[in-house]
Amino acid sequence: MPDRVTTSHLDDAEWVRTVLAEYERPLLMYCAKFMGDVEAARDVVQDAFLRLIGAERETVEGHIAEWMFTVCRNRCLDVLKKERRMTAMSEPRVHTIADSPRASDDEQIEQRKEILAMLEALPERQQEVIRLKFLGGLSYKEISRVTELTVTNVGFLIHTGMKSIRETLGEHESADLDLAR
């Protein structure tokens, strides 16, 4: 991630381009899931990057991932709040299960689909923190600041969500069972 490597040598514009290259996809995925609307997610992410351009680099650099996801999340909430009041969702929802061009075999494809389907079935909060963790690469602390949850709560949600997914994958011997022997 750009703030985890040395970017201080880059000028401001180049730095923004680096951030864009790194975070465009994860932010879009996150916002698309958050909003259920790809086009709205694009608008949100574009706004976030325009806001980044207008921001003081010193105040953002070093925690760029957290900053970007927070801006996007707040914008998503604003838009959703407004849309709930103003309009009905008209855009097609995001489909989470997709064929992977990198899939090496059917089993792997099926497993990915299974995982994504399970992820989709998780409670929203669990989905969100897991996506922030794996898609955005955020730490528990960063996730807690983005979502305004406690770090403990984040840990609980991630653990619970992952446990559900693992059970779907056939790991019926959960940690509790294993450790209880």
Binding site: D12, E24, M29, R51, G54, A98, L116, G155
Partner: protein, 643 residues
């Protein structure tokens, strides 16, 4: 680590309940523990195979989840969105290299953003002062520089210097190009918006007395007494479009790279307004002598390697990199408000479809209700009176108390192309004073292209191009700050009046409007975007009831009201819509309504009938009637009512 559950005697001392234990191991597997915590878990799993297996499984699951997420279809911003970000970045780079001054080929000294002012009368004075300086520079560069420097020295230490302005230097040796048109046009606009009256501000008075002889003032392009015909070919400041020897210009990003503005018709019509750019202007070969008549030739530009000090706004150039709020988005900041940046966008004609749906007794789907189009479709032609009618681009603003939220204002800003040629690559930047505005919401914006006879077809519009005769309209809901207090001219703090004029009272303007030309210039292998302010406008703050506002404003408000109502916005319930309609019908009855006004009222009538608020008959009795030749066919409504 302590072991808090002892339900299996051989378990490793791991803290907490099973759930807590699991969370701990998950955090460990995901590398979320501190070094101390990690060391403890490391020690624990070294003696507990079950815990070690669990950690391994969590890591495997994490890898699978990560893999699955990476396999999701990649999303990306659209090309247009990438382009906008890239443009903004280029602007950032451009601003870094040159904070304020923008290059423009073969033009006199210019002050790019000086026209953007922040303090009502003070700002007006600043623009006036600049405008007074520039003509002198144009006529006699060397002496004008002296005058300008003298002026700057006089105001530098003056307490009358607006706080948002600073003294800056323009070094001819460093700045390759210049352009007076911006400041002149901007100041011209300010002057015009002030009703042609000279500024009564003490700052302006002292500035003009200190620097400009009376005869020069009278001869200034800023003098409202000068008519359009006075702007002749030898008027260096305003003659910026010499078709025989056009200056080089920067291609605009739209319309196949054609330049920003080209009013086209030589010295006639709007030629005096000085919108530069266009295809013709890029044809002058490099190195060709600068045409005669230009205010400052290359020789003088090169020889005048003397820094010129001038007034510059401290706040310019920072806001437009912020994201512009979208329609329906409420913007609220404590200290600042992002500008609302709008541009002409292609529109579809949903109004006609919506009307048809209503006419058959059905409520249109909320997703098919476009408030922006409604606002603009029903805007009647409102050519302003007075001196502003001569300008090519006319900016008008009007405000009234919101009929649906107390202490809110509705603001309508329109830009009309009164010229004979399209105006290209423009955007409208609306800035609200955060001291006076707590939040604002863009209810809608669009430009009118749909002729009444063409209502059924979708026009083909080009982004950023305002065609001749088109009006670009934006309607805002503005939340005023509670207990808004503004200093009066004597420095005392007084509560706001419900009716006042900012320029007369010294009250900071509620909002400012800038019309900018966005052009892209080639810099080596890179494109650089630059914005050039063409018109600055301060909102007329005469606030009154909607019923007392102009017809165009009333219709915009009614269109917005019915649009919000159809979208289910709780701000405009049916009863309120009915009340708004009744008030506007009453006020419209005094005049012969246009066909569009009648159409809008008919549409509202249909909506209210669907909502069981009044009958078609009772509503129809209240309505004004259009001229016989202009009246729309309302038979459908009658049929429905009969049914």
């Amino acid at each position: 680590m302590t072991h808090e559950h002892d339900d299996h005697p051989n378990s490793t001392p791991v803290p907490g309940s099973r759930q807590r234990l699991g969370e701990r191991l998950t955090a460990f597997a995901l590398d979320e523990l501190s070094s101390d915590e990690r060391a403890e878990v490391d020690q624990a799993i070294a003696t507990d195979p079950a815990a070690a297996r669990e950690v391994s499984r969590i890591r495997q699951a994490a890898a699978k989840i990560d893999d699955a997420m990476q396999s999701e279809p990649a999303l990306a911003l659209t090309e247009a969105q990438h382009a906008r970000i890239a443009d903004t970045l280029r602007e950032l780079e451009s601003n870094q290299s040159s904070n304020v001054i923008v290059a423009e080929t073969h033009r006199v000294l210019h002050i790019r953003r000086i026209a953007w002012y922040c303090g009502g009368g003070l700002a007006l004075a600043a623009c006036l002062a600049i405008a007074l300086i520039i003509p002198m520079i144009a006529n006699d560069p060397s002496s004008s520089l002296d005058v300008a420097s003298e002026f700057t020295e006089k105001v530098e230490d003056s307490p009358l210097l607006p706080k948002d302005f600073e003294i800056a230097e323009l070094d001819f040796a460093k700045e390759e190009h210049s352009d007076s048109s911006v400041a002149v046009i901007a100041a011209d606009s300010v002057m015009r918006s002030a009703g042609g009256e000279p500024a009564d501000d003490a700052f302006a008075a002292s500035a003009s007395e200190a620097t400009i002889p009376a005869e020069q003032q009278n001869n200034s392009p800023m003098n409202p007494a000068r008519s359009r015909e006075d702007f002749t070919a030898d008027d260096d400041i305003l003659d910026l479009r010499d078709s025989e020897n056009p200056p080089t210009s920067t291609p605009a990003p739209h319309a196949g790279g054609r330049g920003g503005f080209n009013s086209g018709s030589g010295s006639g019509g709007n030629s005096g307004r000085g919108f530069v750019g266009g295809e013709a202007e890029s044809k002058r070969p490099a190195g060709e002598p600068v045409p005669a008549g230009l205010p400052l030739n290359e020789q003088s530009r090169e020889s005048d390697a003397v820094p010129l000090r001038f007034l510059r706004s401290k706040t310019l150039g920072k806001s437009h990199t912020q994201p512009s709020p979208r329609e329906g988005q409420r913007v609220e900041r404590k200290e600042s408000l992002p500008d609302s940046i709008l541009t002409v966008v292609p529109i579809t004609t949903s109004v006609h479809d919506m009307t048809e749906t209503l006419s058959v007794g059905q409520r249109p789907d909320v997703s098919n209700v476009y408030i922006n189009e409604m606002i603009n479709y029903f805007v009647p032609d409102n050519i302003p009176n007075g001196d502003v009618s001569e300008a090519m681009l006319i900016v008008q603003s009007e405000s009234a108390e919101s009929p649906w939220i107390p202490d809110h204002w509705l603001l309508r800003v329109s830009v009309q192309n009164r010229g004979e040629e399209p105006v290209r690559a423009i955007e409208q930047v609306i800035s609200f004073d955060p001291e006076r505005v707590a939040a604002y919401e863009l209810l809608g914006f669009a430009h009118e292209t749909v002729e009444e006879s063409d209502a059924a077809r979708s026009p083909v519009d080009v982004e950023g191009v305002l065609e001749p005769g088109e009006t670009f309209v934006a309607l805002y809901d503005v939340e005023r700050r509670q207990n808004e207090k503004v200093p009066d001219s004597g420095g005392a703090v007084t509560p706001p009046a419900t009716e006042r004029r900012g320029r007369e009272t010294g009250v900071p303007p509620l909002l400012k409007v800038a019309i900018r030309n966005i052009a892209t210039e080639r810099d080596g292998e890179d494109d650089r975007k630059r914005a050039r302010t063409l018109v600055d406008h301060v909102a007329d703050e005469t606030v009154h009831e909607v019923s007392e506002s102009s017809r165009a404003f009333r219709m915009s408000v009614l269109a917005a009201a019915v649009g919000l109502h159809l979208k289910g916005d709780p701000r405009v319930p049916a009863e309120l819509l009915s009340d708004i309609r009744a008030v506007l019908v009453e006020s419209t009855n005094e005049n012969t309504p246009t066909k569009k006004e009648v159409e809008l009222l008919a549409l509202v009538k249909q909506v209210l009938a669907l909502d069981k608020v009044g009958s078609i008959d009772s509503l129809s009795q209240e309505e004004p009637k259009a001229d016989a030749d202009d009246k729309i066919d309302d038979s459908t409504a009658s049929e429905q009512d009969d049914g």
